[in-house]
Symmetry: C2
Subunit: 367 residues, 2 copies
């Protein structure tokens, strides 16, 4: 089977990026508006995963995130097994926002749901609607956030019939302000603790869908561990806020945190500093990711450069806090291990067991 | 021409409502999660236009809102005049969130953009993309909010090719807490100050689009004032936060506020209390709304029950503050007038000049 890449899967970042850069510049230019209210932005949060405003006694963090196209996998799998899987992708949608928000050190406080359908008919499948609501509530409960409300527009002519565009916004507080984890203290010698992923999470799904089209049995293809490809894709994203909240309760403040989403392990050098991130211990790769990489013809560079490959979140902590950070994560049920360290050196991610290096030019997340 | 109604326009509220009620109940059940962080929700904000959390020294308000299908009007009008109008619908999108957020008394602090397209190709129209960015920034500047970031997903298979799903989220602070305007002090004798609308805003657009399909010249139809129907529809929603901020600066705290969106003037009895809202002075009706009502065969009950008919926002203030509220609104360029009063009596909206009454059974916004 020939190689599949993101461009074939319908996502052409080169076309999106010019607008994104224009938007980032315009957005940055609005910072001064906060002065009217006696507030200031934390400028270092631009380019990071959540936006942070200094409100005096506390910091306010916010984010809006989209699920992407994972609902299409759920819709396809419904035909295979009869299950809706919307309880699971509800968790994914919230995870996209919450796992980003906590990277800045915020406690997630409340979320809003954004469920845009192609028309009122979407709601006729009551089981699917009920599962969506139940999964959304369960994920809120798991993260200790209040579900504040939401929007359920029927967008005939914008969204396809019987499809749904799922997104969520999340607001959080950094209080006390010393919990802010934007990397000011990130330094050589810090340990990097990685937290295990449950599977593909919600990044790389366009590619995974494209692969399904090329497999003779599609989503019903059996993986080596006996699971169906489609069901394995739908294992929901791990929610990491229980870990960051437990760390806070234990008095551990990470120096930096990164959510491993699009760009895979390249995201591990997200911070603006010029530092080397050297990894010595790799996680077990979830079977679905191993299969995806093998079937699409991806070498390790492509796979680790685009998928999480078993590591869904990274905590950069002082060396003395490393072992305890692992323990705290495990205590709330999330796999964790000391995977590497921060070193002085050029900006790069070095994955020693794979003899693989991503350099500075391999990641562009800033304008 | 025969009558057109919302069901024909593709929006069937009866189908959406059961899910909405289920979701509202599930959402309400997550309130207790806030206790883990020493926070509590302002329960009265459920069913209102923004969600409010009590954080001790201040209140945190948040909202996520969708533009709806107004982008389809802009896309159609591009073919008529060559202009993109995306600077205008950017303002609409932000107005949907900001005008809701300020009803609770919050100062809007930051917004996130949600721009979901049918694929990367959407971004190839550079003028449209530039206009979207410019309009978004201008609206942020007008409201004094910081544009914190956003999401620009390419959702091939979910969103139609060359279409965009525009939404925004907004976070605000109620500080001091005495600025909260959830209606605790709403009482007989209060004056109702209405603020002028600029046109259709972003509610009733599905109906307006359906009408365009039935007009021989479609969006290019000339209205009585010489404007094109499509261009008149695209006059952007008035941003009302400059009014609420100016009122705050003047020491005027409204007892309640309502954003006149879907359900038109029925929204004026949004508050849970059993009170009569009696109106004596009607605004000038924007030509586009007069035309829409006439062409769709709507009588006054249909028109005022679904469209803003010239009134985009309502401020319920102590009688002694009424005249000054009007002056303050006008001082920031927003038309305003004392339009009516709150009375003891059954829950109803009475529009005297039209001999029209909406009763309690005409509006359902709560679970």
């Amino acid at each position: 089977m020939s190689r599949l890449d993101y461009k074939q899967a319908g996502v052409d970042y080169a076309k999106i990026d010019p607008l994104k850069i224009l938007a980032q510049q315009a957005a940055a230019s609005t910072a001064g508006n906060l002065q009217r209210h006696g507030l200031t932005e934390i400028a270092a949060s631009r380019g990071e995963s959540a936006y942070v405003v200094d409100c005096g006694e506390f910091l306010l963090a916010s984010i809006t995130e989209c699920l992407g196209t994972k609902a299409l996998v759920a819709d396809a799998m419904r035909k295979v097994t009869g299950k809706t899987y919307y309880d699971l992708i509800a968790q994914d949608t919230l995870a996209m926002a919450i796992n980003d928000l906590i990277t800045v050190g915020a406690t997630p406080v409340s979320v809003h749901a954004y469920w845009a359908t192609g028309g009122s008919a979407w709601f006729e499948d009551e089981q699917r609607a009920r599962d969506l609501v139940a999964g959304w509530k369960a994920a809120c409960d798991a993260c200790g956030v209040a579900w504040g409300g939401g929007e359920t527009p029927a967008l005939t002519g914008v969204v396809h019939d019987d499809r749904i565009d799922l997104a969520s916004s999340c607001v959080g507080l950094v209080r006390p302000k010393t919990r802010l984890t934007l990397g000011d203290e990130l330094a050589p010698g810090d340990a990097i603790v990685l937290l295990g992923s449950s599977g593909i999470h919600a990044n790389g799904v366009s590619l995974a869908r494209k692969l399904a089209e090329r497999l003779p049995e599609g989503y019903a293809t059996k993986l080596a561990d006996g699971s169906l490809y489609g069901e394995a894709l739908l294992v929901p994203t791990t929610l990491y806020s229980p870990v960051t909240e437990a760390l806070f309760a234990e008095g551990i403040v990470p120096h930096y945190a990164a959510n491993v989403t699009g760009h895979g392990w390249r995201k591990l050098m997200r911070h603006a500093a010029t530092l080397t991130y050297r990894f010595h211990t790799l996680p077990h790769v979830p079977e679905v990711l191993r299969f995806l990489a093998a079937q699409t013809g991806d070498d390790a560079r492509e796979a680790y450069g685009n998928l999480n490959m078993g590591a869904g979140f990274a905590l950069y902590v002082g060396k003395a806090d490393a072992a305890r950070t692992v323990e705290v994560a495990k205590s709330v049920g999330v796999p964790a291990w000391v995977a590497g360290a921060v070193e002085a050196g050029p900006k790069q991610v070095v994955i020693e067991p794979l003899q693989l290096t991503f350099g500075d030019g391999d990641l562009h997340v800033r304008a």
